[in-house]
Symmetry: C2
Subunit: 531 residues, 2 copies
């Protein structure tokens, strides 16, 4: 279909397929404007993209019509990239001069796109050690549970009763249809909060299919997570997964050798045990599917174990009510980074890692291409191969993902990876990747990869130069606190040393500047010591 | 009061105050029978203890009367030790030859003792590195939430409605009193699970008092954890904590210098952020108070970060309906250890660490003593002091806790600490502690403590032994991968070295065995190198 159309446009640029682009706020909006200018526009013709401004101001000015338009456009186009947005607090309503409190845009998107799941996964950079060695993926049911609960607080003594009417009851109609009592309980405390919610289950089989396919693609072992041993109503969520698995997926998982850890079966994990496994299974290679709230809790734990939400991808997957095809909205797992934006506005240097943001953008481009009929890249495609230029937007996006990782891996990283006070500034990093993309477009990625990795001495210089006073101070403080704590227990093993001198030696050893000496740092130092 | 009675009994043993002892099942029952024989009976006269057998068989045989008696006795005596028990599955009902499925005993205990909170905390062993460096404590609201929910599954399309009658409605009485609608929502899916629950709030102020007192005693910063930003009905839980804090505790926390990290205020943490902090704040020194289900999830995460549930204490705190005094039931955070019990029954060697179990037993003895009028030990009491023998059961229990830690710290540990396949057997460990208690009773703890700690070379050996092959292998692998990546870019700075030897030296420097050398590790190594 469209693959025949993906020829270059007038300016020699690839024509990007249609996509909805939702703009947000603060630091991440600023960074994305640089990325669009420097990484995207030189290579892609994005005239088919539809932009919507979801800043609080724009939403307030249009009485939120802009959000409704964005959701409608997304339902048509089906590939959406969204920058982080702000859901204003009472204080922000005042400080931003809004006329009223705006709800989170996520609810409207979930409803408008019939959200099934929020798919998350760890992002990995070859050569850079993060939390998990291999992929961890997650499905979080996008609807139901306590997020859509009804409730009352300050409820006194009495009786609480929940009933179900098997027809939709018209409010105000006094003649009630027959009903079934779901639950009736006395309330004996003087003060109670009461809560009712439901888990709609019709789309759980779709969720299960998405989950199993992602597990197969990432080559990980699937686990369904619930608290069904105690919360008996969660049994259905598990049963639906099991049914889909047994009917369609067991054979493929067995063939792929992914059910070894679970004795050839789909495994269930109790949610509290899952909090333990997430901390324990640092090797990665597992997937989890869970209810909405459990998914919220567990994906945040995964983010932290893997270093930060900046290294976790997130996409909302919904389903078109018109034709049943999938709608995907891609975003970073983090927010608008308010603190850093304030530094930037004050004219200070910032060092923001746009990995999560750009991963979402590139994934949206790849999905848009697929919707336009371009065959997805094979799993083992050599995206860094010798071809002189990318010939589809998908291949460009895949190459850009690779280029970004390469820049980080050779030491041109932002301070989250280079160490506090070290590394490139936000703008320097974006320029470094822009250069890489330019060279890669001209020379092919493979040649460039080899040439830059040879220049490893410059990476070492970078690290030495940028060792910040902040890291030095914090290490001196850490050492002095440890010494005084040791002294308090009669241990003088850290007493009477020149902290500054020890820290200076330490920093010579700590080549990656993360404030800890790893085995590779150690080996280099020991070797050069022996010379 | 009773302190005057705590003279020795006829056999020269201290008379233990009344306590309820609930027996359980499998490995932990076996281990506790050894502990009672070898650690307790030689030193304490326990004739005032009431024993109840909560094994499935005994409960089934008595139609659960034994559980009801245990709960009644606990309500009178107010200090309870409970071994792990089994809540039988359908399969276990058959395999154990039971006449019916028995509910978990925990529900009956929570109701019978008006459970307020499940108090948990990390257990620390001086000289042994676990997950958190300093204490982490937790309060989990013992009632309410989804644990006592009403629900229906397979609910189709229709309307769900929850109402509140401000009087207790008698089932069967057709004349309904006036009601308020809590919530009404259409159900549009063909399949739904519907759920109603309440959070009774009357005892949250008691919970808050228990929490703040424990935080002050452990010298940690308090955080209240909810999802109230989205689950608005959870606001009350926070407000009650805040009210108690501002009225009675702020000054004491400020004086103790514990509010530095929270700017002098009681802090609230969103539950999903709490999953991140628990993984991040390895230094410890924090406390959290949470709703029932959040507490379940988060304490399991804490257990894993701190190594395993074997290193976390757990007590149910309730309140006497007769006189309002506190009832405390102490238990280990783990179960009956079925797998290991099977090995034992097969005549194989096991290596079980009874730290969590015995910590609970000793704490129950100390609480029983306090109920009997014995002054609690001062926080900074020198329990290992030179007195020839303990003169109260509390002091005996405190000394026993200390003796157990000492045995572990000098290297006589079970395989969970010594490494897989290493360490003492279950019985050897219990004998080692029994010997220690005997010597300590004869010679006084202080002398003994000093003598064993001087033999620090054996402790160093332990650390060497204890370093698991897994860490060693993973470091060798990490180093070799780093070397081959460096070589691929022409960097031979890591080439041609003896990886095993480098890793061995590295492990000597890495005193805390976390696979990274921090500044304090480094300083110690540099200092000892210069000697």
């Amino acid at each position: 279909l469209r693959s025949s159309m993906s020829s270059s446009s007038m300016q020699g640029k690839l024509v990007a397929p249609p996509m909805v682009y939702a703009k947000g706020e603060e630091m991440t909006r600023y960074v994305m404007s640089l990325i669009l200018d420097k990484w995207i526009e030189p290579h892609l013709d994005t005239t088919s993209w539809q932009y919507f401004d979801l800043s609080c101001k724009a939403r307030d000015d249009t009485d939120d019509e802009v959000l409704r338009e964005c959701v409608r456009a997304g339902a048509n186009v089906k590939s959406i990239f969204k920058e982080p947005t702000i859901t204003p607090t009472e204080e922000q309503v005042k400080s931003l001069g809004l006329t009223k409190r705006l709800p989170s845009p996520n609810g409207a998107m979930r409803r408008g796109w019939n959200g099934i799941t929020i798919s998350r996964g760890t992002i990995h950079i070859p050569g850079v050690k993060l939390g998990y060695d291999k992929p961890v993926i997650f499905e979080r049911h996008a609807v139901g549970g306590e997020y859509s609960a009804g409730y009352k607080t300050n409820v006194g003594r009495g009786t609480l009763r929940t009933v179900f009417y098997p027809e939709v009851h018209e409010p105000g109609n006094p003649s009630l249809p027959p009903y079934k009592v779901v639950y009736e309980t006395p309330l004996t405390d003087g003060d109670n909060a009461v809560v009712t919610y439901h888990n709609p289950l019709d789309n759980v089989s779709d969720l299960a299919e998405i989950f199993f396919n992602r597990c197969l693609e990432a080559k990980v072992t699937p686990y369904v997570v619930t608290k069904k041993t105690v919360f008996k109503w969660q049994e259905s969520f598990w049963q639906i997964h099991k049914r889909v698995f047994d009917a369609k997926y067991r054979g493929r998982f067995l063939a792929a050798g992914l059910l070894g850890p679970t004795n050839g079966e789909l495994a269930h994990l109790i949610s509290d045990a899952a909090t333990m496994k997430i901390a324990q299974w640092k090797q990665g290679n597992f997937g989890m599917s869970a209810h909405n709230y459990d998914g919220d809790m567990l994906t945040d734990e995964i983010s932290q174990v893997h270093r930060s939400p900046g290294f976790v991808s997130s996409e909302l997957v919904g389903k078109s009510s018109r034709d049943g095809s999938l709608i995907k909205e891609f975003e970073a797992s983090h927010g608008t980074v308010t603190d850093m934006d304030q530094l930037r506005l004050d004219g200070r240097r910032t060092s923001f890692n746009p990995l999560g943001l750009s991963e979402a953008l590139f994934s949206a481009i790849i999905w848009a291409d697929q919707l336009a009929g371009v065959q997805p890249l094979a799993e083992d495609a050599d995206v860094d191969g010798p071809a002189a230029a990318a010939d589809t937007p998908s291949l460009f996006a895949a190459r850009a993902k690779s280029a970004l990782r390469r820049v980080i891996a050779r030491g041109q990283a932002t301070s989250d990876l280079a160490g506090a006070g070290k590394g490139l500034s936000t703008e320097e990093f974006i320029d470094a990747v822009a250069d890489e993309l330019k060279c890669s477009a001209e020379e092919g990625n493979a040649a460039y990869w080899a040439s830059v990795m040879e220049a490893s001495s410059s990476a070492a210089e970078l690290e030495e130069d940028e060792t910040s006073e902040a890291l030095r101070d914090s290490l001196v403080g850490e050492l002095e606190r440890a010494a005084s704590m040791a002294e308090a227990t009669g241990d003088r093993g850290l007493s009477g040393m020149d902290s500054e001198a020890v820290v200076n030696t330490f920093l010579e050893w700590d080549a990656d500047g993360d404030g800890r000496i790893g085995i590779a740092d150690f080996a280099r130092a020991v070797k050069s010591d022996k010379k």
